[in-house]
């Protein structure tokens, strides 16, 4: 986790760091700004030179713009031309204007005996980490989270506030006039660099494990049902629900408010559109949408 850092650097230093050329006069940069709201001595990026906020720039002094082409001479700013303005912008912000937040286990976090925490793990106020939990290096668990059961979280993961990883699962069979809970012996395994938004829940597996691959990014308010598997680098946007034992392949994109019926398979590289209700498997690379979800685009080639 990083936080903003009040610093100043010369545009020429940023150019040297990015190994690009500075066009226009050198200037002092104090920090990043949104392109539409530049302030004096800031750095912005635009993906297209035509998107340059010229009138706003005329009212500000010393703005550095990262953009695909050098800003023409006489423009009210200096520029660094780069084919990847956003990436270079992020690199420069991380290098010069943010710093890592020092890891901390908050005195009001509860870490049960037996839990194994790697180096630089942060567990913030009000969070609970159960005895059978293992957490990798540099992972941060924000406030009021519950991590319990047999859970292994990789390195550099982020769990935002109020999320539950583990705990009891919602899986019952009706027997003898009452609902019986199924056995709950599965684990939760989360790969490195995974990211979970606020108020998200991941259920442990009943008999198999719930597995979240490395690099998976999960937005706020997402529920991942028991025994589900999410492949490397997939994205699950806000408000989506994966019922029990769903499989999502690698590099999939699940848009906000998607529901996926239990045991369905979303194959690699597919896209599930906004609000879709998935009741059938989604083929590799396809785009599906609607209720019930239908394929609207197949993989090319």
């Amino acid at each position: 986790m990083r936080k903003i850092f009040l610093n100043s650097v010369l545009a020429s230093e940023i150019a040297a760091f990015l190994k690009r050329k500075l066009h226009g006069a050198d200037l002092a940069v104090y920090g990043p700004c949104a392109a539409g709201q530049p302030t004096d001595n800031c750095m912005i990026y635009v993906e297209d030179v035509r998107a340059l906020p010229v009138s706003a720039l005329k009212k500000t002094a010393d703005v550095l713009v990262l953009c695909p082409r050098p800003v023409p001479r006489g423009a009210p700013c200096s520029s660094i031309a780069t084919p990847t303005p956003k990436i270079h912008f992020i690199d420069a912000v991380n290098k010069f204007f943010t710093r890592p937040i020092a890891a901390q286990i908050h005195p009001r976090a509860v870490i049960e005996e037996g839990a194994k925490l790697g180096r630089n793990v942060s567990v913030l106020a009000g969070s609970y980490v159960g005895p059978d939990v293992e957490i990798g290096d540099d992972t941060t668990i924000f406030q009021n989270c519950v991590v319990t059961g047999r859970v292994r979280i990789g390195a550099r993961c982020v769990i935002k506030a109020n999320s539950t990883i583990g705990s009891e699962i919602f899986d019952f069979v009706y027997e003898d006039g009452a609902w019986q809970q199924v056995p709950q012996v599965g684990r939760i395994i989360i790969g490195d660099d995974a990211w979970f938004g606020a108020n998200s829940t991941i259920e442990k597996g009943a008999l198999t494990d719930t597995v979240i691959g490395p690099g998976v990014k999960v937005d706020d308010l997402v529920q991942i049902g028991s025994g589900s598997i999410v492949g490397k680098d997939s994205i699950i946007a806000s408000g989506s629900v994966l019922c029990r034992e769903v499989t999502v392949g690698t590099r999939c994109w699940i848009a906000p408010h998607v529901s996926i019926l239990e045991r369905r398979r979303i194959h690699d590289g597919s896209v599930v559109g906004l609000g879709a209700v998935v009741i059938a498997d989604v083929p590799k690379g396809a785009t599906v949408a609607g209720n019930p979800a239908r394929t609207i685009r197949r993989r090319k080639g």
């Binding site: 850092f5 009040l6 010369l10 002092a28």
Partner: protein
């Protein structure tokens, strides 16, 4: 940077200073001493564009002696005294003080490589036997905390002989928000070396609650904060203002070090009082029982050969060019020992006993401090 050519000295203020100006204007009006005390320090005046007067320099005296290390000159580094070396990591300041030549320096900042070499030099034999202190100026070093942190780590690694890191800054009165937890953490991490802060406040109205808080926070990591006020016409050339200012320093624990006579630079005549005016003010301050003797600064001018503190008797004579001849205790032989090729500047003349007298361009008390149309 020594030898660097002057760039256009444009107006530069922080959001904080702009807010202070509006606040002072709303509270006291545009003609008030409070408002003008700040406006005169930062607003570009047409009077700056007047031609250089007699004796006024385009650029202020600075030693041009370059230090060489490993066969290459060290950038941004100067040996000040036997025990002290100076390093300028940046030429960026939060705001441009109108009378200061430093704000005119072209943008520049030391690379990590420059810093590593400077630190190695400081810790190398035989330099390390003498060197105990590093003066970090600029520009304003608190504008570049990341660089400052790098300087500290390099000094710790290569020059443990340096016991005091002295930092010159005006950030607390220009952009106090920058005295952040991160910055304080970086300063604290200089230990076991000690941090000393040199600052410059010219009027009590600069000591807002925010600025006071920033100084108090700096005092948690610095073993000393001292001030070098510049005597500025219309800002602080009155006993009342100066005694309030030095009183405030006293209670903030800030040591009153120098009261500088404003340097004779081109475009600054309207900021300069006469040398005599400063002496009168000093006498009113120091010999009137007005406030604590613990809070008295040294009234000092910056001459071509170095600083000269003024007492009655130091001014020997005045010529028709409005220059005053000052008796100093600088000695030719000391300069020559430090730098065998040293030659006395034209303004300096040795006495029979080898001490130097130096001509210093005086200011005038009768001229305006701002252009007529600036007063509204």
């Amino acid at each position: 940077m020594a030898g660097a050519k002057a760039a256009v000295f444009r107006e530069k203020l922080t959001g904080y200073l702009r807010a202070q100006l509006s606040r002072l204007e709303a509270a006291h009006g545009r003609d008030s001493a409070e408002y003008r005390a700040l406006a005169l320090q930062y607003a570009k005046s047409p009077l700056e564009d007047r031609h250089a007067g007699r004796g006024e320099r385009e650029r202020h005296y600075e030693s041009e002696v370059h230090i060489h290390y490993d066969g290459k000159p060290l950038r941004g580094v100067e040996r000040l005294y036997r025990r002290t070396i100076l390093i300028e990591p940046t030429t960026v300041c939060a705001a441009h003080c109108r009378w200061c030549l430093r704000g005119q320096y072209p943008l520049f900042s030391l690379s990590e490589d420059d810093i590593v070499r400077a630190a190695r030099y400081c810790g190398s034999a035989p330099v390390r036997d003498d060197l105990r202190e590093i003066l970090i100026t600029g520009g304003d070093p608190l504008m570049v905390p990341q660089r400052l942190e790098f300087i500290f780590t390099q000094l710790r690694a290569h020059a443990p002989n340096i016991l005091i890191y002295r930092i010159g800054t005006r950030v607390p009165v220009q952009d106090p928000e920058r005295v952040s937890k991160d910055l304080l953490g970086i300063l604290r991490a200089a230990a076991p070396a000690k941090i000393e802060i040199g600052t410059q406040v010219n009027h009590p109205s600069e000591l807002t609650p925010e600025a006071r808080q920033a100084y108090a926070a700096l005092y948690e990591v610095a073993f000393k904060i001292y001030d070098q006020t510049v005597l500025l016409k219309g800002v602080n050339d009155s006993v009342d203002v100066l005694s309030r200012l030095y009183d405030d320093f006293r209670y903030m624990g800030i040591e009153a070090h120098y009261l500088f006579h404003c340097i004779p630079m081109k475009g600054m005549a309207h900021h300069r009082t006469s040398v005599r005016r400063g002496l009168e003010l000093m006498q009113d301050l120091t010999s009137s029982g007005a406030f604590s003797g613990r809070a008295k600064p040294m009234y000092t001018v910056m001459t071509d050969i170095g600083k000269v503190s003024l007492y009655h008797g130091v001014i020997l004579e005045r010529n028709e060019d409005d220059e005053v001849l000052l008796q100093t205790r600088y000695r030719v032989e000391d300069f020559k020992r430090r730098n065998p090729s040293w030659k006395a500047p034209a303004s300096a003349q040795p006495d029979k006993d080898g001490t130097l007298r130096v001509w210093y361009p005086d200011g005038a008390d009768d001229g305006p401090a701002e252009a007529a149309h600036e007063k509204r």
